[in-house]
Amino acid sequence: MTPAKQIGWGGVALGFLAFFIAVPPITVRTPIPIALVGLLAMTAGLLAYRGGEKRLGSGGIVAGVLGISGGYAATQSGESNLEEVVVWGALLASTLRYATPLTLGALGGLFSERSGVINIALEGMMLMGAFFGAWGADVTGSWFLGIVIAIASGAIFAALHALFAITFRADQIVSGTALNLLAVGITGYLYVQIYGDEGTPDDLPQVPNVELPIQSVPFFGDVFGSLNLLVWVALAMVLVTWVVVFRTAWGLRLRSAGENPLAAETAGLSVVRTRYLAVMCSGGLAALGGAFLSIGFVHTFSQNMTAGRGFIALAALIFGRWRPGAALAATLLFGFGSALAQRLPVFSPSGAVLFQALPYVLTLIAVTGLIGRSIPPLALGRPLSKS
């Protein structure tokens, strides 16, 4: 890493630090140290900017500003309120939960986009998974079968996207948007038809939590002691995805289809088949994320419950340069934003509402700010020429 890059990342870290010292457990109450750290962050950002790292530098400056404002706001709040909100253990556990659908969605998007097909329909696939997961669990009485049905529904729905994007060579963003609309319509229609006014039953089978025997361990016990199974699955999937995409033969073929499909074709591969599979994988993974929402987290289904998470997952993927590890980092960041926003009603109800916008603001900053122009797979979005 060049010195400019190091300084830039240092600036971002300092920005976080400015906020961090104002909240428990450090809970600095005077604004001066916060301002100092924040200014240090901004200086580092400026230096990085001058040193050629324009985006990272701006990111550092932005982080500094956010850190100072967040830290300042913390100093102005009641200490007891702060202690209620910033319980790091619970906060991080919450982060992992909020991040899980995003992670699964991002991983799904990774498969599709690495093969060269833009997947704007992650949102729709997630929604399908949310509904069919709930419905499946209800109808079969088993959360496991619910998950299976959810994944299947996502894969089938994704096959539709594949059909239009690959075989019919549609504009992939328009067709993806169409699928999102379709998903809202289909899931809403079936929901009203089947569950009508009462909504999903209260005794909907739930994906169980994994109770680790570390509950009494300070901090780690709070964070990892009682997480849902699908949270662990999501984390495991990050590793699995990395291995599959970067260390197996199929992964090599997948990536070649996305970088230079002609090279893949002339090596004897069927790019069409590879892409179909990749897109269906993405549907299955996104649907799993949606199933987590309905039968692992909120324990019910409501219309349009994904609320834009599919897009945040896509943003995390882009932020993470189409790599599983970095995408995970991004989803954790966004998850943190949501976790924080959820605990804020303690301060002021209307303010809390405003903070619901935080994950979207973070996403917006992320896709324009910090990381330089992410280079996508070379052939992303280009339909195959026919012969």
């Binding site: 291995v243 260390r247 197996t248 033969a249 992964g251 090599l252 073929r253 990536r255 070649s256 970088e259 230079n260 002609l262 090279a263 893949a264 074709e265 002339t266 090596a267 004897g268 591969l269 069927s270 070379l378 012969s387």
Partner: protein, 509 residues
Amino acid sequence: MADSPALELRGITKRFGPLVANRSVDFELRRGEIHALLGENGAGKSTLMNVLYGLHQPDEGEIRLDGEAVEIRSSSRAIGLGIGMVHQHFMLVPVMTVAENLVLGAEPKKGPLLDYKTAAERTRELSKRFGLAVDPDARVQDLGVGAQQRVEILRALFRGARVLVLDEPTAVLTAQEAQDLFEVLRALKAEGTAIIFISHKLNEVLDVADRITVLRRGEKVDTVPREGATERSLATLMVGRDVLLRVEKDDTTPGESLLSLEGVSARDDRGLPAVRDVSLDVRAGEIVGLAGIDANGQSELIETIMGLRRPDEGTIIVAGRDVTHAGPRDTLAAGVSHIAEDRHRRGLVLEFDLAENLALREYKTPAFSKRGFISPKKMVARARTLLKEFDVRGGEPETRAGSLSGGNQQKVVIARELNADPRVIIAAQPTRGLDVGAIEFVHRRLVEERDAGRGVLLVSLEMEEIRSLSDRVLVIYEGQIVAEMPPESSEEDFGVLMTGGGRRTEGAA
């Protein structure tokens, strides 16, 4: 040599809509021979080979391997039949390593995982066996062109090719690298591999081929053995007439400098240096030709001049005005016109009609607009005049530009650019894809502009065009101007300079 030929193509016909790329072509290849496929650009050579490789399906005709009829519906089938292809535009994945590119489609596995070690080993084995030096762990995008080609060839051999097709392989090689390649081909030939060598370079074909088949406009003209063939006889077969494209040109005395570059450097889209310390002058009343092999920085140089690319160093002055950091608008306003090398990409808006296209530079001028409102009627009227003056056929001002033929489209571009009354004209591949009549028109027009006191920078891959039009010729190689030559210099002299003057380029170890 076996009894039946290794490969036979009989009566292959391939159409693309109304265009007949191959018409009833017969082709025969024996084991252990190097058979050249010769023809001009657009003669149908690549199409024929793509049919062989399963990338296209023939409309008529059949393919026979070792006497047996086969159907090749996909590249994997072709590979399975032992046909390997080294394409003109490399079919490699830039971000992947040499070893990864090689094993793609036939990956060695260790359980579920890819066996990278074995892949690298196999790469080294093959590399040694065929004398093609490559580094298995290097990323393809970091390699020089010669090295990339070696990887392409190894890729085909890795899959056990017994019929090897090379499409214009020397287009991007230095003279020395080309000789190295021919050595490799001769070695392969000795092992019994049958080789098809596609080219439009007569001297090379005579150097390495055993037999030569000539295609012209999609049809096979003749197959001749190397003995007895000369460059002249082959050229006549290729073109069908005695071609000597000569343009009538008076002598002129060049005047003041209209376009002046001093020490200009710029990088390409990947951040690598593409234009290195280029200085040149185009004076009034002269045509300066810029000769070079494709992808040696010409495109980036033009983009830098036109303001589409930011120069890292140097100055660019047009008729006394400094346009070094100017964008396209200001550069055009300073008096530069640009006949783009890709008329579909930079030259025309195909969805616009001709009137709108012709107005692309002037739509904001008072002639066509008032207070922000444009007058289509005025555009149409002006278009009518221009279309007549430049003899554009195939459309009215209201015709969509996309429906015109290539030659007429180019005329529209030229009409617009010349009508803007420039001081300097940058003509990049101005006759690419045009028929003879259109080519003559363009050449005549450029000479007229020069005679009228304008400066012309002619960038072209066609040596004949450069030599017949230019008053002096600059040679560009790897982003640098390496020489200035009189246009009467021989093709060999130019060739040597255009390929680096015989020195080795950087390749992988």
